[in-house]
């Protein structure tokens, strides 16, 4: 029962979602809306599960004074402060919560992602050593796209053709077509996996045990 029950629930939920897609009946619309709300409520609790796990890990680190426990205090305190600011002042423009978002959360996020520019550059230097025709195509196209999107690229011209124009054409046609082929392949794979979940063939998400 500990396995068969959840598998039956997955089957019913999956089939119900497929059926509702093909019918505009108001009852099925309501079922769809409610099912989505259930999904969001469960997602909220799943987030809470992750939060509990994160906090438990950091609190354990602090209480046992493990290496880097001081940084764990930073995580715990910043989480508590951000949450209290939200509950106390709300999220309107100019509130402390909004300031924390604008001057701490957003800059840190943008900086962490911009840091990847440096690592991508060094990784590409190693990966792009054109050893064969595949790597050469990758290298040439990446350079065209990068140069085509910076001001200096517009100075590179051959008659009525320009590098930004070539980059634009690659993005619009060959790249789009290759991505489309991938997209169709991914979709077929995802549909097969979904069918396996609904039919109870794929059950690794249930974990081990009885």
């Amino acid at each position: 029962m500990r396995r068969r029950g959840p598998l039956t629930l997955a089957f019913i939920a999956g089939v119900a979602m497929i059926i509702q897609f093909f019918s505009p009946h108001p009852i099925l619309r309501t079922v769809y809306t409610e099912a989505l709300n259930w999904y969001r409520i469960i997602s909220a609790f799943t987030f809470m599960l992750g939060l509990i796990s994160l906090m438990r890990s950091h609190i354990t680190k602090v209480t046992h004074k493990r290496a880097g426990w001081g940084y764990s205090i930073v995580t715990i305190v910043s989480f508590i402060v951000m949450t209290i600011l939200g509950f106390t002042y709300g999220t309107g423009a100019g509130t402390p919560f909004d300031k924390m978002y604008e001057y701490v959360y957003a800059p840190l996020g943008a900086t962490v992602f911009s840091l990847l520019a440096f690592y991508l550059a060094s990784a590409s230097f190693r990966a792009f050593r054109a050893r064969n025709i595949d790597a050469t195509i990758l290298l040439v196209v990446a350079i065209i796209i990068m140069l085509g999107r910076v001001p200096v690229g517009s100075f590179i011209r051959w008659g009525r053709f320009s590098l930004p124009g070539l980059a634009e054409w690659i993005m619009a046609y060959p790249n789009m077509a290759a991505q489309r082929g991938l997209l169709i392949g991914i979709a077929l794979g995802a549909i097969c996996m979904s069918l396996k979940i609904i039919l109870g063939i794929e059950r690794s998400y249930l974990g081990r045990g009885g």
């Binding site: 629930l9 900086t111 060959p174 609904i198």
Partner: protein, 219 residues
């Protein structure tokens, strides 16, 4: 040059520099900023996404109505997902972890059920529709750049799809087509890589612009 006097701008600038200090090597400033980012983002997500957009409208408000009139039919629908959600928390204790299978099964089944028609519609039918070349009326010039490009798209999509066809050995004509498919895939990956690098570089420019203009006031 007019350096900013806003403490928030100073905080953002120092945190930006703390993150960039990682380019030299891992250090306490970077670790501080990294842990601060985790804490703040979890707090932000908890209040702004979970509390304001899910807990209040979908749990708190219906429960309030149920508290006033316990047999309000629509609001009774809150009970099953709440039970499933509480079962999800069973994962905290290894002894009760089995309980979380029920909400997991619901989420997986529902996601799978939603994915099948959605993938068919958007990722298969629409993509094939976009690939098919419609033959124009006789008055329109067939051999135009537009149709050549459309023909190229059709060829590339076919080659890429055949590259993933493993039911026959990639030999002979099929082998040659799949090599072309691999080259087209490399082209797509190269374009995606170049595009990603430029997106990261634009973020970097944004941060440098903040440091130089907003913080240091250099124009």
């Amino acid at each position: 040059m007019a350096i900013s006097h806003d403490p928030w701008v100073w905080a953002a600038a120092l945190l930006t520099l703390a993150i960039y200090s990682f380019l030299y090597k891992d250090n306490p400033f970077y670790k501080f900023a990294e842990h601060l980012y985790i804490g703040v983002s979890v707090g932000y997500f908890l209040y702004f996404i979970i509390w304001q957009q899910i807990v209040v409208p979908l749990i708190y408000d219906p429960l309030k109505v149920l508290f006033i009139s316990p047999f309000h039919t629509k609001e009774l629908l809150i009970i099953p997902p709440l039970i499933l959600s509480i079962m999800m928390l069973g994962r905290i204790s290894p002894r009760h972890a089995w309980m979380s299978r029920w909400p997991m099964a619901y989420v997986m089944g529902m996601g799978a059920g939603l994915a099948i028609p959605a993938y068919f519609q958007t990722n298969i039918f629409k993509q094939i529709e976009g690939t098919i070349i419609s033959i124009p009326p006789a008055t329109i010039e067939i051999v135009s750049t537009y149709y050549l490009n459309k023909l190229l798209v059709l060829i590339i999509v076919t080659c890429v799809l055949l590259f993933f066809y493993f039911s026959r050995e990639h030999k002979g004509a099929l082998g040659r087509i799949t090599i072309l498919g691999r080259w087209f895939l490399m082209l797509g990956f190269g374009a995606a890589f170049g595009y990603t690098v430029m997106a990261r570089v634009s973020l970097l420019i944004g941060r440098l612009d903040f440091l130089l203009h907003t913080w240091l006031g250099i124009h």
